[in-house]
Amino acid sequence: MIDFSLNHFELFGLPSRYRIDETALEHAYRTLQGNVHPDRHAAAGDAQKRHALQASARVNEAYRTLSDPVARAEYLLHVRGIDATDETDTKLPVAFLTRQLERREAADEAADAHDEAALAALSKDVADDAVRLRAEVERALDGDDLPAARSLVRELRFLAKLAEDLDALRAVELDG
C-alpha cells in the first residue's frame, strides 16, 4: 500500500527542504489517503484492514508534520541527523529569552486585567516574530547551515508554545 521505509518528504514525492509547495503537499496527501484510508478497505479482510489503518495513520502523521512550519523544521533536522527537540538542552540566546520573558509578564498582567485586546496585540506581535523567524529558518535549512538552523528552530518552537498559551488565555476571556 505504501512504503513505510520512506521519509515523510519521499512519501509525498516532495523535495526534502524547508520551503514547501503547500498545494502539492495537500494534493499528494489527498491522493495517498484516497488509496489507503480505512474507508476504502472497509469491506476487505482483517489483514488488509489492519494494513490500511497503519498506512493511513502514517500518512496523517506525515501530513501533520510537513504542514506545520515548526514540526517540519524539526523533522528536516531529524532527517539530517540533528535532534532539535532534546529538552535537557535549554540554551537559547539571552536577548531572545529576555524578550519572551517580558512578553509572558505582559500576558499575565493582561489576563489579570481581563484585557482581551492587549492579549490579542501580544498574539499578533508573536505571530509577526514567527513569520520573520521562519524566513530565517528557511535560509539556514535550505542553505545547509545546520547549527544555525537548530538554534533558530528551537526559538521557533519557543514562540509556538507562547502563541499557544496566549490563545488559551484569550479563550478564557472570549468564553467568559
Binding site: 480505512p38 474507508d39 472497509a42 497503519q54 502514517r58 496523517n60 502523521e61 479563550a171
Partner: protein, 618 residues
C-alpha cells in the same frame, strides 16, 4: 425449495449484486434506520409507515417492548421502561448527577451503570442493543435478508468509553459495524452530496441528549472535519426539564412519584414542541399529587431556557477558534436534530453566524440518511459519486504523569486514524512495574479529565531511576476508538497489559451477553423466516401485476376476479405476522395464476417465433 447462491470468497456473486447496507441513527429520543435503494437514500418506516423508533425499551411481564409500544407504557411502568439510555452510555453512576431525574433503580457500584429491571440487571449497552436489534429486524424485513454491514452514528463529542459502548451494543445486536460515524459528519454527507457545495460549513447538531458542533471543509470530493466540539450532556431533554421545573414551580405541587414525573415530563415535551408553531402552549396534567394547569408562553420559554441556548454557543466559539476561523468564514450552517426546530435556537444561530441556517433536509432524518449513504459506499456498492471522509478525534488523549497531571499524547482535532507514541521513564531506583492511567480531556489535572483505562507494565528489569525507556503507543482507529500498548525499549519487553476499562464492559462480559442472546435465537429465526416469506410475497405480487398489465386479455372475467382476490389475500397476510397464513395465501395465488401463466408462455413462444426468421431457428 430455494437454492442459496454461494460465491467465491471475497468476490461479489454478480457484478450487479448489491450488498445490504444500512445507516443507523441511534438517538437519545428517537432512532432511525436508512438504506440506499435505487440510488436514493431512504428512511425505512415500520408497518404503519412511521419512520422513527422512540429510543425506549420496556422490560415487561410478557417480554421486551421497543419503540412506541414501550413509550405508551412509560408512565405506568417507569422503573422498567428505560428512556434516553444514550445519556448513560459509557458512564458511571457518579456521572448521572441528580439521579432523581431518573425513575430507575440503579445498582450501586464502580464503573459502568447498571439498572435493576424486571428482567434482571441491565447495562446501557444491553438496553441500546435492544433498540439496535429492533432496527436491524426492520431493515432485514424491508431488504429481504441479512444485513451485510451497518454504520452506527455517534455524537462527534462522544468520548472513547461512549464510542466503545455504542460499538459493543451494535455487536450485541448482531450487526457487522462498518464504521462508527460522527453525527454532524453524517449530516454533512447527506447535505454535501445533494447540494454539491464547496466551502466551509458548520453543522449545528442539537439532539435529544447531546450537542455537537463540527466545522467541515468540503472541497474536490473530500469532507475534511477541521474541528469539532460540543457537550455530550446537553440536548432537547434539558429544555423539557426546564419546562417541567417551571410547571412545578407555578403550581406548587409537592414532590412527584416516578409515574407522575414521567407524565409531567411528557406534557412538558408536548408544550415545547407546540411552541415551535405557536405563541403559547397549555400544560395540563392530573397527577396523584395534584392538578397541574399552566400556560407557557414562548416569551417565558425563551426566558427559562436562555442559559441552555447560551451553553451551545460556547462550544461553537471553541470549534471556530480551533479551526482558526471566524463566523464570517462559514459559508453555511446546517441544522441537525429535532431540538433545532426551537425558534430561540434558530434565532441564536442566525445571529451568531450572521445568516439564516440551512434547513432544507428533515433535521430528524438527515443523520440516518448520511449514514446510509456512507454505509452503501463502505460495504462496496459502487454507485454514484466518490468521496473521502477525513474525520477527527474530539478530545485529547493522554497519560497520567507524576503530580496527577495529564501528558497529552494525541491532541484533540487530530485527523484519524492516528498513531502516536511517547517515552516515559521510571521514578524510583529498581522500579519493576509501572501503572499507566489513560485519560481523555483538555484539562491539565487528571482528576478533571475522563478516566478511560488503567494498565500495568510488569517485569521491567531493575535499573536506576530514569534509565528505563518505556514507549507508550496510542492508536486511534477510524471509528475514533483507542488502543494502547507499552514497550520497554532497552529490553524490548512488551507490556503484559491488564486492561481495565473504567466505564466499559470487559470482553468476558460481552461474551456472556452474546451467549445470553442465543437464548432468543429461536425468536430471531422465526422473525427471519417471516421476513423471507414477505420478500417472496412481494416478488410474486410484482410479477403477477406486471403480467396482468401486459396480458390481461388472456383472462376471462371470473378468472381475473379470482386472481385479484388471491392478490388481495397475499397483500393482507403480508402485513400481518402469521407466516403460515402468508405462505398459504402465496400458494393460493400461485394456484390461481397457473392457467394464466401457461397461456402467457404459449403466447410468448408464438411471439418469439413470429419475430424471428425461420433460418435463425436452425
Amino acid at each position: 425449495m430455494t437454492l442459496f447462491q454461494i460465491s467465491e470468497p471475497g468476490e461479489s456473486p454478480l457484478p450487479h449484486a448489491r450488498k445490504r447496507a444500512i445507516g443507523i441513527d441511534l438517538g437519545t429520543t428517537n432512532s432511525l434506520v436508512a438504506t440506499v435503494r435505487n440510488g436514493l437514500a431512504v428512511v425505512l418506516p415500520d408497518d404503519e409507515g412511521q419512520p422513527l423508533v422512540p429510543s425506549v425499551v420496556r422490560y415487561g411481564e410478557q417480554g421486551i417492548d421497543v419503540g412506541y409500544s414501550a413509550l405508551a407504557r412509560a408512565a405506568q411502568d417507569p422503573g422498567n421502561t428505560i428512556v434516553s439510555v444514550k445519556r448513560l452510555m459509557g458512564r458511571g453512576l457518579a456521572d448521572v448527577g441528580d439521579d432523581r431525574r431518573y425513575p430507575y433503580r440503579f445498582v450501586e457500584g464502580e464503573g459502568i451503570i447498571r439498572i435493576a429491571t424486571r428482567a434482571g440487571v441491565k447495562t446501557p449497552v444491553e438496553i441500546s442493543a435492544e433498540i439496535l436489534q429492533a432496527l436491524r429486524k426492520r431493515a432485514e424485513a424491508s431488504l429481504g435478508g441479512d444485513i451485510d454491514g451497518a454504520i452506527v452514528t455517534v455524537p462527534a463529542y462522544f468520548d472513547d468509553a461512549q464510542r466503545q459502548a455504542t460499538k459493543d451494543a451494535a455487536r450485541l445486536a448482531g450487526l457487522t459495524v462498518l464504521r462508527l460515524l460522527n453525527e454532524p459528519t453524517a449530516a454533512a454527507i447527506a447535505y454535501g452530496l445533494d447540494n454539491a457545495s464547496e466551502g466551509t460549513y458548520a453543522v449545528f447538531d442539537l439532539g435529544g441528549g447531546t450537542f455537537d458542533i463540527s466545522i467541515l471543509k468540503l472541497s474536490r470530493g473530500v469532507f475534511e472535519v477541521l474541528a469539532t466540539n460540543g457537550d455530550s450532556a446537553l440536548g432537547g431533554d434539558d429544555f423539557d426539564h426546564r419546562v417541567f421545573c417551571w410547571a412545578l414551580e407555578q403550581t406548587k405541587v409537592p414532590p412527584l412519584s416516578a409515574a407522575d414525573a414521567r407524565q409531567l415530563m411528557t406534557r412538558a415535551r408536548d408544550a415545547k414542541e407546540m411552541l415551535t408553531g405557536h405563541d403559547a402552549a397549555p400544560i395540563a396534567a392530573e397527577l396523584s399529587a395534584g392538578t397541574i394547569d399552566a400556560m407557557l408562553t414562548s416569551a417565558t420559554f425563551t426566558d427559562i431556557t436562555r442559559t441552555l441556548v447560551a451553553k451551545t454557543l460556547a462550544p461553537v466559539k471553541r470549534a471556530l477558534r480551533d479551526a482558526k476561523l471566524t463566523p464570517a468564514d462559514i459559508k453555511g450552517v446546517v441544522l441537525v436534530g429535532g431540538a433545532t426546530r426551537m425558534p430561540q435556537i434558530r434565532r441564536a444561530v442566525a445571529e451568531f453566524f450572521g445568516q439564516p441556517p440551512l434547513t432544507n433536509l428533515n433535521p430528524d432524518e438527515v443523520v440516518a440518511i448520511g449514514a446510509a449513504i456512507q454505509a452503501n459506499k463502505l460495504v462496496g456498492n459502487r454507485d454514484g459519486a466518490d468521496w473521502l471522509l477525513l474525520d477527527v478525534i474530539p478530545l485529547s488523549l493522554g497519560i497520567e504523569t507524576m503530580g496527577g497531571l495529564s501528558e497529552k499524547i494525541v491532541p484533540r482535532n487530530s485527523t484519524i486514524p492516528v498513531a502516536r507514541a511517547q517515552e516515559f521513564t521510571t521514578f524510583k531506583d529498581g522500579q519493576t512495574a509501572m501503572a499507566l492511567h489513560v485519560v481523555q480531556g483538555e484539562r491539565e489535572k487528571v482528576s478533571d479529565c475522563r478516566s478511560l483505562a488503567r494498565f500495568e507494565l510488569r517485569g521491567i528489569p531493575p535499573m536506576v531511576a530514569g534509565a528505563a525507556r518505556i514507549r507508550v503507543s496510542f492508536d486511534v482507529d477510524a471509528d475514533g476508538l483507542l488502543s494502547v500498548s507499552a514497550r520497554e525499549q532497552t529490553t524490548g519487553l512488551e507490556a503484559s497489559i491488564v486492561v481495565k476499562p473504567s466505564y466499559g464492559l470487559t470482553d468476558g462480559e460481552i461474551a456472556r451477553m452474546l451467549q445470553d442472546s442465543f437464548a432468543h435465537a429461536s425468536d430471531d429465526a422465526q422473525a427471519r423466516a417471516l421476513a423471507e416469506a414477505r420478500v417472496d410475497a412481494e416478488r410474486i405480487i410484482v410479477a403477477t401485476q406486471s403480467a396482468l398489465a401486459v396480458d390481461a386479455d388472456l383472462l376471462a372475467g371470473d378468472e381475473r376476479a379470482a386472481i385479484d382476490r388471491a392478490l388481495d389475500d397475499v397483500r393482507r397476510m403480508s402485513d400481518g405476522d402469521d407466516r403460515a397464513a402468508l405462505a398459504k395465501a402465496v400458494a393460493a395465488l400461485n394456484n390461481a395464476t397457473g392457467a394464466f401463466a401457461a397461456r402467457r408462455m404459449d403466447r410468448g413462444v408464438a411471439r418469439a417465433l413470429t419475430g424471428k426468421r425461420v433460418d435463425a431457428l436452425g
